[in-house]
């Protein structure tokens, strides 16, 4: 029988150890190009792991997670050069959580396709409010100058990816995650058996918002530029979903596969055939949903079980 502390500590040490090793290997052995690709992969891992905490566990598919990236980025830009970097990052995460409480409490009453489209609607609503605020202030994009270099952003992003992975890992294994999965299977039955569904859903929403908010801040640092149309783009939310679907499963390893697969593929395609990149993405999405419904990780699990037998 493993002790509780062991069950908690081991994944933390393993994940941070692995992240540090991979990061060190990339920095020492590969060039700056691969560090940038690595930053990209870490960013999408952080986002997709956060997304499955809500949508993978509860089945409430959010098409609005770009809101949190955008809000985090915006708050970070407003505070830029006024507060230290770490405080800006914390504020980005905190403001995303705050927005999640405000949005989540009413939105999570709505179920199924209504919820999906409502989150998209709310995301666009927030986007256009920010665009109008910025236009009212006569700002057309804001520059973020004097930020940390490529390597520092890479380390920070890798840290966020590791945190998000652990969040998804522990959320699924906790009593809290059990409640969320009960909601996914049958919300009415869960509620009747005493699961505090509203509270759990809102907490899951908030938890899945914090890291995307901080990713938004790092995203702005990396591009050196804040532009609402880019930071709130619905394409960001859709890419998260695509990666989660390709990876498969509601467990933490799933997104690793989906993200790596898609990023590597997009690097290859951008280099060789940029004009068909989006077409291939669309075809792959269809193929995965229809042909590999459990995603890459789901397939691997099935294969492993067969071998074990």
């Amino acid at each position: 029988m493993k002790s509780n502390a062991h069950r908690t500590l081991k994944p933390i040490i393993t994940v941070f150890g692995a992240a540090a090793l991979i990061a060190a290997a990339l920095v020492l052995l590969a060039g700056e190009y691969w560090v940038i690709v690595g930053t990209n992969i870490a960013m999408w891992i952080a986002l997709t792991e956060s997304w499955i905490v809500l949508s993978g566990l509860t089945g409430y598919i959010s098409l609005g997670h770009a809101t949190f990236i955008g809000v985090g980025a915006y708050v970070f830009v407003l505070l830029w050069n006024k507060v230290p970097l770490w405080l800006g990052l914390a504020a980005a995460g905190g403001s995303a959580a705050f927005v999640a409480v405000i949005i989540g409490t009413p939105c999570l009453r709505v179920r199924g396709p209504y919820f999906v489209i409502l989150t998209l609607g709310v995301a666009e609503f927030v986007k256009f409010i920010v665009i109008n605020i910025e236009a009212g202030l006569a700002n057309f994009g804001r520059l973020v100058l004097g930020g940390p270099g490529v390597y520092m952003i890479f380390y920070l992003m890798t840290g966020l990816a590791a945190l998000a992975y652990l969040l998804a890992h522990f959320a699924r294994r906790s009593r809290f995650g059990l409640g969320l999965r009960a909601i996914r299977e049958d919300e009415n039955a869960a509620e009747t058996s005493g699961v505090p569904v509203t509270l759990l859903k809102v907490v899951a929403f908030v938890l899945s918002a914090i890291i995307p908010g901080m990713v938004g801040a790092l995203f702005v640092l990396r591009s050196g530029y804040f532009e609402p149309l880019q930071m709130f783009s619905p394409l960001l939310s859709l890419t998260m979903i695509t990666m989660a679907v390709m990876g498969g499963s509601d467990d933490a390893p799933g997104p690793l596969f989906g993200v790596t697969f898609l990023i590597v593929l997009s690097e290859i395609l951008w280099a060789n055939a940029p004009e068909i990149y989006m077409i291939v993405l669309g075809v792959l999405l269809v193929v995965f949903v229809l042909g590999v419904p459990n995603g890459i990780y789901g397939r691997l699990l099935v294969a492993r079980r067969r071998v074990a037998r």
Binding site: P113, Y114, L120, G121, F125, V289, L290
Partner: protein, 292 residues
């Protein structure tokens, strides 16, 4: 509020109603979230643009080609992909989630194939630019044609679903799929026909829009979002609700913008949409069908 504004609101509303009714037909019967709906309108718009540019065929004729093309596309997609979405999943939630992703993939493919083939250049053609005057209203011929065509089509659909036997079958399916199968409705055939009809109507809407707005590969998103806002406002599966919702959104967009300014268009539309959904989570007219 001038009569001119009301006329403009009516035209936008009629196009939106056509888009929404056809989208709702697909959702209501099959529980498919067709996020590629606006892209089918884009396909229809290109059909009419090329028919006019290459052969000089006016949209009053080429709409037939647009309908045929998108209708056949609907059947092909149904037989090739959608059947598998419906067959592979047991629960309605699963079908909804999967169809959303599959249609998103289809949407990306359609948009980017169009961009690859036709470039992103906005396209338009000169048809029906003569301005007609009624009382104090001035309207171009093309917009008037679009208004009449959309109104007639939407009206015909509503009548069809009240009276024709196949229309009744679709409405029965919207109400209860299992019970419909029990009383002998051929579900598979109804599905194929609603795919064909739903897609064809989106193609028709594309033709109508192409007469007075520029056609681009990415023009569809706006109509997809509008159509979804409407069918959720009017209730999923509720066709009459979609028509009313279409005119509400058209009015809001046109008259709201006239009073506030174009910057507030999206805030206004999404704001009303969010407010309605939060106030009545099952949609404005959503009854038993949508409420879970």
């Amino acid at each position: 509020m001038s009569a001119q504004l009301i006329a403009a609101a009516l035209i936008t509303g009629a196009i939106y109603a056509l888009m929404a009714v056809s989208l709702n037909l697909i959702y209501g019967t099959m529980r498919l979230l067709n996020v590629a709906h606006g892209d089918l309108a884009m396909v229809g718009a290109y059909v009419s643009y090329w028919a006019f540019t290459l052969w000089g065929l006016p949209p009053t004729i080429s709409f037939l080609a647009a309908i045929a093309f998108t209708g056949v596309l609907g059947v092909v997609l149904y037989k090739g992909l959608i059947e598998r979405v419906l067959g592979g999943s047991r629960s309605a939630e699963r079908v909804e989630a999967n169809s959303l992703l599959v249609f998103f993939g289809i949407s990306i493919v359609l948009e980017n194939v169009a961009a690859l083939c036709f470039t992103g250049t906005p396209r338009g053609y000169n048809f029906g630019n003569r301005i007609l005057h009624f009382l104090e209203i001035s309207v171009t011929e093309s917009r008037l044609i679009a208004l009449v065509a959309a109104l007639v089509t939407v009206g015909a659909i509503l009548v069809f679903f009240r009276l024709a036997i196949w229309g009744l079958a679709v409405r029965a399916l919207i109400q209860d799929r299992n019970a419909s199968a029990l009383v002998g409705i051929n579900i598979d055939r109804v599905f194929v026909m609603s795919s064909a009809l739903g897609f064809a109507l989106a193609g028709l809407a594309g033709t109508l829009v192409s007469m007075f707005e520029s056609t681009t590969p990415f023009m569809g998103a706006r109509y997809t979002i509008a159509a979804f806002v409407i069918i959720i406002m009017g209730g999923l599966g509720n066709l009459t609700g979609s028509v009313v919702g279409g005119f509400i959104l058209g009015t809001l967009e046109t008259i709201g913008i006239a009073f506030t300014g174009p910057n507030y268009r999206s805030i206004l539309i999404y704001g009303v949409f969010i407010a309605i959904l939060l106030w009545r989570p099952q949609g404005l007219f959503g009854g038993k069908v949508a409420a879970r």
